[in-house]
């Protein structure tokens, strides 16, 4: 962080000022709604250890800590530069109330077997894993910034490799949540099936009459329940640019996306 100028970073308030994120001002992956909706997939009564895979500056993990008082979070990130932002985030005075329940682990979540364990991701070590994988398809857009590209561009079999690791580190009865694009639905469900059960999906629509822009999938180790499509989240009420009351509660840490 010392090598970056003040102008290269921003400090942004989330959950109506209940926590703050230090993140790159321009390049890199800037956290926002996706991280908040992912974090909202964790039940409000959740207690235990949570892994935030590909945590970036820590937005989703901190959002879980902000809503779930009995949670601890390990922010797992492989990019040293983004890790530095996560460290700056935890050191920010506005996060003093959450700081003691968060830690940072530099690790590539796609490692397997002993290499994954050696990197600090032991089997059955977590009660929940959340992930916001770099899900923009490579051909979708040209991203000139290398850091931004690393965070956004999907590699082959990314869901398969990320979910495989999540299934290893999450305990029996533990949970998984993933945010993705609708077109990745089949690939994501295929990666999760057989490793987690009781898949629940919430589609996120910008407006009631528009196609979904994101899906959030949640599933549980050892569950044999069938896949369900939960009521969708509609962000904006018809004729308004403001968030609906429900969407506002979810993105501000006042409600769970799955109603629990």
């Amino acid at each position: 962080m010392t090598e970056r100028s003040e102008a290269a970073q921003t400090v942004d308030a989330f959950h109506r000022g209940r926590f703050f994120l230090v993140q790159p001002a321009a390049g890199g992956h800037r956290a926002g709604m996706d991280a908040m909706m992912l974090a909202a997939s964790v039940p409000s009564a959740f207690t235990g250890r949570l892994a935030d895979f590909g945590a970036g500056a820590g937005a989703a993990g901190l959002a879980v800590l902000s809503r779930c008082a009995g949670a601890e979070a390990v922010l797992v990130e492989r990019s040293p530069e983004m890790m530095a932002f996560a460290e700056a985030t935890l050191a920010h005075p506005g996060n003093a109330a959450l700081h003691g329940r968060a830690s940072i682990l530099e690790a590539d979540v796609t490692l397997t077997g002993r290499a994954r364990v050696a990197a600090g991701l032991a089997d059955n070590a977590f009660d929940f894993a959340i992930m916001n994988p770099p899900f923009n398809a490579g051909a979708d857009r040209a991203t000139p910034d290398a850091l931004k590209r690393a965070a956004h561009v999907m590699e082959d079999d990314l869901f398969e490799r990320w979910v495989r690791s999540a299934a290893a580190v999450v305990k029996p009865r533990g949970g998984l949540a993933v945010i993705a694009r609708p077109e990745q639905l089949a690939e994501l469900v295929a990666a999760v099936s057989g490793r987690f059960g009781g898949i629940e999906i919430v589609a996120i629509h910008p407006r009631a009459d528009a196609a979904a822009i994101r899906i959030v999938l949640r599933a549980w180790r050892g569950s044999r329940a069938k896949l369900t499509l939960k009521p969708p989240l509609v962000l904006h009420q018809t004729g308004s640019d403001l968030f609906s009351t429900h969407a506002d509660a979810i993105t501000n840490g006042l409600a769970s996306l799955f109603g629990d």
Copy 2:
């Protein structure tokens, strides 16, 4: 039909009396909302030949003819007993306006290659295929009636085999629509992917706060568009047992499920 007593069949009005269905009173698969929602997936401006796979007494195929004046339908059914109901349906005086655009083909849609062609399902012979496969999982319920069981109980790889045949008989640029249960989402998308593109899915929820009970998938031969999750259909308005205005229009042949 001559071997069945009068009491063994019913005549039910659909689309507010614009067509009628002769179907078994108790045993067998009685058509209803699923067939109407499947039929509603065909664009209102559709013209050409439509195949109704597993047509039963003809509910979905006739519902397409009722809404799409330029459509012709081939009702494909392998059960001789259900075929007899389809014949009685087409002979019913209340269907005189549609009768000339419908025909019946006794064939097993899971046949392949030359056997499928020999059964009357030639390659590239249709502009659209719709299917309401027997999608209740075998373990779900005990169905004492053999005819009902044949219509309802899902065999292994059923989507794969039905969609494979649909891909053979539908022309380039032609369409496919399938109604299924939410838990069959991944299996269905896997069967369709690579054969049809531009997958669109509408989830059908009984109420705004309830999980989906059905999905309707539509896709197109040769399309390279990505999968989209369309706005869901909510059948009942909050606090009412009546259908919403939109759901009522869709199930009565006055609107397309996909807004076209």
